[in-house]
Amino acid sequence: DTAVSQTPKYLVTQMGNDKSIKCEQNLGHDTMYWYKQDSKKFLKIMFSYNNKELIINETVPNRFSPKSPDKAHLNLHINSLELGDSAVYFCASSPPRPTYEQYFGPGTRLTVT
C-alpha cells in the first residue's frame, strides 16, 4: 500500500564508506526526486528525474550519484561518506507537470561517524 518507500530507514556508517539508499514508488508517476533535510530541518532539492532522465542536478558533490533503473525507482549512491553527509534524505515522486504536489517517502536518516 505504501506509495513511496525508502530503504533503509536508518543508516549508520563510518566515514569513507560507500552506501546506497533505495526508493520505489507505486503511484505510476513519471518524476522522482531526492531532497536532503539538514539538522536544522531545511529541505533542499538534490536531483530530479523524469522518465529516467536527469532533470535537476543541484550543486551536490559528485560523490552522490543517482540512478534510475526504471520510472518506479530512483536510488541514491554515496561514495566516500563524510561527516557532513549526515542528514535525512527524502525521496519523492509526482506526475510530470509541476502543478502537482510531490509525495514523499518516509525518509532515510543517515548518520556518518
Binding site: K41, I45, P96, P98, T99, G107
Partner: protein
C-alpha cells in the same frame, strides 16, 4: 530569485487556540504554485494543500484554512481550535518558476515548528 520565508521559527499555543503560520514568497514568474506540508514528530512529510497563482480564493478544510494574497505575496495557514496532534513542523513551498517542466523542484521555507500543549 525564488525564495520562501517563514519568519516564525517556533510557535507555542495551548489547545483550542487558533494559530496562523505565515508564509511570504518571492518569484518573478506570474505562474507558480504554492504548497503547505506538515512534518509530524514521526518525520514523514505530509502534503496539505496546493494553490496556483491564478486562484486567490481562500480555502477551508475542516480546522485548516489558507489565505492566499498575491498583493502581499503571502500564503498563510490558519489552524482553528488547535489540538495536540497538530504539533509538527509546517513547511511552505513554491514550485520553481520559469521552467515549468517535469522534474521542477519545490523550494521550501525553513519551516515553523508548532507546539500545541494540552
Amino acid at each position: 530569485a525564488q525564495k520562501v520565508t517563514q519568519a516564525q521559527t517556533e510557535i507555542s499555543v495551548v489547545e483550542k487556540e487558533d494559530v496562523t503560520l505565515d508564509c511570504v514568497y518571492e518569484t518573478r514568474d506570474t505562474t507558480y504554485y504554492l504548497f503547505w506540508y506538515k512534518q509530524p514528530p514521526s518525520g514523514e512529510l505530509v502534503f496539505l494543500i496546493r494553490r496556483n497563482s491564478f486562484d486567490e480564493q481562500n480555502e477551508i478544510s475542516g480546522r485548516y484554512s489558507w489565505n492566499f494574497q498575491k498583493s502581499t505575496s503571502s500564503f498563510n495557514f490558519t489552524i482553528t481550535a488547535s489540538q495536540v496532534v497538530d504539533s509538527a513542523v509546517y513547511f511552505c513551498a513554491l514550485s520553481e518558476p520559469f521552467t515549468m517542466q517535469a522534474g521542477t523542484a519545490l523550494i521550501f521555507g525553513k519551516g515553523t515548528t508548532l507546539s500545541v500543549s494540552s
